[in-house]
């Protein structure tokens, strides 16, 4: 069974683009348009979440906090998408419980490597 990744982003093109890379690499991708939608689509079998920062309804920080204090899969690795030089946002994300971040713009390799950095492949 392919590992499931949840993408939370309000930009259709970003979702499409990320989806394309991840599907190509063999992941199963679940898409959500904002934090609220993301919470609805949370499930125990999601391996990694990639979330944007700026989103309507529920932004990235609120979404991360909600996952961490929730009941379902609360320790799932979460990567927050930021743009370069947004150090405060990285810190804000970390304090909210993000596992790491991915810097936009990213290319295919960076995306896959960063996911590998946080997704557990060990399986003991």
């Amino acid at each position: 069974m392919a590992d499931k990744i949840l993408i939370v982003d309000d930009s259709v093109s970003m979702r499409q683009m990320t989806n394309m890379i991840l599907s190509g690499a063999g992941y199963e991708v679940v898409q959500a348009v904002d934090g609220k939608d993301g919470l609805d689509k949370m499930s125990a079998d999601i391996k990694v979440i990639i979330t944007d920062y700026n989103m309507p309804n529920m932004n990235g920080i609120e979404f991360i906090k909600a996952v961490r204090t929730g009941t379902v899969n609360k320790s799932v690795p979460i990567l927050m998408v930021t743009t370069e030089s947004e150090n405060e946002k990285k810190q804000e994300g970390k304090s909210a419980g993000a596992t790491g971040w991915i810097t936009k713009p990213f290319d295919k390799d960076t995306l896959l490597q960063t996911i590998k950095k946080v997704a557990d492949p060990l399986g003991f």
């Binding site: 093109s13 960063t114 557990d120």
Partner: protein, 707 residues
Amino acid sequence: MNELGSPLETFREEARELLEQLEQHLMQLEEDPADHDSIDGAFRALHTIKGSGNMFDLDDLVGFTHIVEAVFVRVRDGKLPVSRELIDLSLQARDHISLLLTATESGTLDTEVAERSRLLSVAFEEYLDAETSAVSGGVAGKQNSEAPKDSEHESEGECTYRIEFTPAADSFLTGANPLLILNELAELGTILKIGYCEAIPDLKEIEPEYCYLRWVILLTTDQGENAVRDVFIFVEGSAEIKIDVIDEADPLIGESGYKRLGEILVDRGEINPKDLESAVSSKSYIGELLVKKGFVSEEQINSALQEQNYVRDIRENRRTVETSTTIKVKVEKLDELVNLVGEFVTMHAGIAMVAERKNDQDFRAAAEQMEGLIRQVRDLSIELHMVPVEILFSGYRRLVRDLSEDLSKQVQLKLEGTETELDKNVIDSLKDPLLHIIRNSIDHGIESPEVRTKKGKPPTGTLRLSAYYSGASVVIQVVDDGAGMDVERIRQKGIERGVIDSSDRYSEQDILQLIFAPGFSTNEEATNVSGRGVGMDVVRRNIEAIGGSIRIQTEKDVGTTLSIRIPLTLAIVDGLLSRIGDSLYLINLSYIVECLDLKDVRTAGNGGDMIDFRGEIVPFLDLRRYFGVEGAAAEHPQLVVVAIEEKKIGLVVDALLDKYQSVIKSLGKIYERVEGISGAIILGDGKPALMLDVDRLVKVTRDEVKK
């Protein structure tokens, strides 16, 4: 990334919507220039277009939008007021971005659009201060802060790090799995992971979601410290991370033992040095003792023991690892190769001669081409035979350390020019001579700390081993800052032994050379370190055997310098072919200062046995007479001025023929006892030629003059 097709199209649509929003915000700003929401909105729209555009490699679009965005950063930060002109310009920019969006469909921009980009950019840049515009320059292209590891850090050589890693208590909760970090570290190189579970409380007290584990990790990698730190990028700030270099593949550090168990524990802060000392003073097995005394836990000891073993293993492996990128070749095979190449050189010389004689253009051209190739092969085979003197030098670290300890002296060894390469055979032959010299320097040269202090010198003496190229030779120096040699005492001793007489015609150098005489020692009481002067005569013999020479410079209380000059390679020499009677002689080019017509040179000195060489009175040697060559002297004898260590003599030969490159063959029995000949070669046409031992000839001639 055009193959993505549909996401790009989606991006275009999105960008158009954003541009629409941008326009709305700009219009709003025209009415209310201080409207924060509109300023923010305009900025966000531009920021998103730039960010997403970057994902699609739309460089022109991104570059342009970036400058506009930078201006809006200033507006947002209150550093720039919204003016009518700015809004006008921004609206133009909005239209231009829209144009760029479609323009990118065709791939390259046409010149008109590019020019407009430029003009608008210039206009926007005027709103930026110097600082911001400088920053704007670099951002247009793809700048990835998470650049691939290998390009960011140049390889820094192999290094072993001790990484102390204590994850934050809540690390599980933030999805940061410490085992993944271990995994990522392991990918960088060789790793030893030592887990600590001592902090885990029992079932009653544990907070199961907290992380109680910590690790000490030994990692040997050539990826550099930044690569190691990168692994922790997501947890730095929350986890405790301490990275220390515990072992570098720096050969200069030498293999002088790994850290003691106790030292490792102190390094890690697991025991304080005082406790260690009190435990060690009772001289029992240290690990057991520390546990027994309750200073450290068994887990800590085991971990330190593991570290000790790990470093030892890594060191042992390093040699194998280093050679794995190279091929081991038996020296004999290399010798054979060099010999064969030499034969090749000789044979080619023959071919070239024939080509010359036949005067066949094609033949000659071919021979010339061949010469070029042979030269390359020759250089390469010589190179194969060369090794850095570092191998030789670093072997003495231990000796210096042990010796100075035995003699209660403080000696600091400095190595210089360790990258200088020398023929492997030369290195081998230098090993023992240098050993003797170093022993002597520490034993007789460098004074005890007390004496040094009295003399106003630093208590620690310095012994410097250095190597450098000097023409076709390499000079190796052993320099100490010790007491210097007592020239007068050596002279007295020389007279006592009847080696010299009491006249004053001996130069300081001559007297100093006496220490190389068999059984000559200036130390009344020989120590068990340098013995009774045994060795120095062997030293000179060994060095001369490889065509080298040795020279001493000394100054009382300042120190002594021994300089050994040796040819770069033993096997092949560049020489000047000269003729005396029917015999041919080869003179090593590296010793030749100048060639002159003898008749152009004025003789000097009382018996006319000296020449005036550019104002310097230099003795000369008529080789015809010296070697007892029969027949009449040449009409125009030639003078070859040679020099060894600044000491010049002139050599008189009948004629100079040509430069010649050759392999030296061992001498046949006939020449074994001829002083001044060091070898023989076979020329291209099969004729033999003798290799002059210039070093010897210089010595003989200058000695002669003194008498």
